[in-house]
Subunit: 332 residues, 2 copies
């Protein structure tokens, strides 16, 4: 790359931004009562997390020539909205583990998970309100659209669990809402706080959208071939819940005979154990859907990278490109 | 009253505003997919409801000389945020009935209730974003503060269920967050959209706060002396859930001997049946806490009315006063 930036420079940039986000997030530690609400919030926000979405806000802001400090509250807002979706989705998906620790509804109960998730969205808006920008209306509109879409996406995801006729097109529509919109909102909001041109804002939104699609397909892949400790959640969790992942939808399209029967009858009826998981993996291998997923991820990543061509060269732009390439290799 | 406005005029004004709100709310009917999310939303919004909070937004706007049409989107936003709290609170409170029909989690399930509630808050913000006002930042700040407070209030309410040392002061703090803030946000937002002076905005906020406190104590009262069909939910529901109502907190302060023991031991252990309910009502009567509640409601209503003294006379002002006086007599 022409900027002469090295791997360790990217890591330093990422780390710097992550630290800024963590510091601003710490404002929430001042809230302690009621414990019913704020203990789980502290627990979730203190459980690590890569803060990818908030770092994307800051990088997108810089990529259009803005000062990342102007985007910090918006970045925290995006991070909180994301964490809200994790808490509520984990309830709906009966997930036991998240970031290598029990989920909120497992550690406390469902009521605590519902209410602390609600409170996170409220605080997300309070952070967003602190953003000083001439384009605050656009920022609010994008953020709220992401909030609407992510709930719709989760709704489709839940509906699809009970359906066996989901096409790859349906799947893409669902993950676009459920995952990609939040990531494209992160890059779009970053570009807006940096006061980017309409062309820059659009490019960064699309970059986030392609990246988000790739990100979700990678997540689907890791659910079956990932390392439990690295991923931080139970492997095969998607299959157990009847989730229509990229792999399952593709395999359902292709498999014939007993394989097809197995995917259509056994998988949706939660007959899951180590043996069944192995059978599914065998079918996935026979139908080459693991390769399909890897190809799709590579394709979407290339599309994402192309979008950034119109941006001026610079550290932030090359960090975004580096980040998207890393996605291909991530194992957690 | 000097304006010469009659009971039927008030009813006509209320009805007119309610109709405007219903019409604007109908925009949400365009959203149909995913059904998992939008069917329960239509169900809840179609289940009646008095729309008191949204009508208060419109009246407060007019009371400072504004045009109610300018406040309509904000009014709908407040209504949606309120309905979100109903759906999620009903899950946490194991409530079976609301507005004379099964609650969302009873008719569908908890996941549907969680997600459709979430989506309502997202749409609430989208409506709020449509508000055209030079004071949109203040409006957003008040709305978001109400959102934060209402979640905190619900958190305290749930914590208090397990505690027997709740004072009347604790109780007032809790209902201020849980109920009064949303109503004071309604009147404050109305005053802001009407571009009221700081003094007017403050007066209308306080009017809403006192009214909201009175409203919640009336709700507590109706839970024990109300008519199930009129109230639209199960009588004694608060007691069954171990809620610290005004009546129970007052009675716990005063009762001695076996009455005290009954309230401290039997009530929190859900040993509720018709006989136990009758015993509680007897204790409440002996300790005069029903009268206390009625006096407190009257006191708060007077405080609310006093706040409006600084406003110019007019139809909206007198409708607000009429509305607050009606609260004393409401039975649903």
């Amino acid at each position: 790359m022409s900027t002469g930036v090295q791997e360790r420079d990217y890591l330093a940039i990422m780390k710097g931004h992550k630290t800024s986000v963590e510091r601003r997030l710490a404002v929430l530690r001042e809230f302690t009562e009621p414990k019913f609400v704020y203990e789980p919030i502290r627990y979730v926000l203190g459980s690590g997390g890569k803060r990818v979405r908030s770092v994307l806000v800051l990088l997108a802001c810089e990529a259009v020539g803005g000062d990342a400090r102007a985007a910090l509250d918006a970045a925290v807002a995006v991070e909180l909205l994301h964490n809200f979706t994790l808490i509520h989705d984990d309830v709906m998906d009966n997930a036991d583990m998240r970031r290598c620790q029990p989920t909120v509804h497992k550690k406390w109960n469902r009521d605590v998970a519902i209410l602390s998730g609600d409170e996170l969205t409220a605080h997300a808006y309070r952070f967003l309100l602190r953003t000083e920008s001439s384009r605050v209306n656009e920022i609010f509109a994008v953020f709220t659209d992401a909030f609407i879409q992510v709930c719709e996406g989760q709704g489709f995801d839940k509906e699809f669990e009970r359906r066996q006729d989901i096409t790859v097109e349906d799947y893409f529509m669902m993950i676009n809402k459920k995952t990609a919109r939040m990531i494209s909102a992160a890059t779009e909001i970053g570009a807006l706080t940096g006061n980017g041109t309409p062309r820059e804002v659009k490019a960064l939104r699309r970059f986030g959208e392609h990246l988000g699609m790739a990100f979700q397909i990678k997540d689907d892949l890791l659910d079956i071939v990932g390392d439990e400790e690295k991923v931080g959640k139970t492997i095969g969790g998607d299959i157990k819940e009847g989730k229509k992942t990229f792999l399952l939808v593709k395999a359902l399209e292709r498999a014939k005979g007993s394989d097809r029967k197995f995917l259509r009858k056994v998988v949706p009826n939660n007959g899951m154990n180590k043996h069944a998981l192995r059978t599914i993996l065998d079918i996935y291998r026979r139908e080459c859907v693991l390769d399909d997923a890897r190809n799709e991820i590579a394709h979407r990543t290339r599309l994402a990278e192309k979008e950034l061509a119109i941006l001026e060269p610079g550290k932030a732009k090359s960090t975004l490109l580096w980040l998207s390439s890393r996605l291909l290799e991530r194992n957690s």
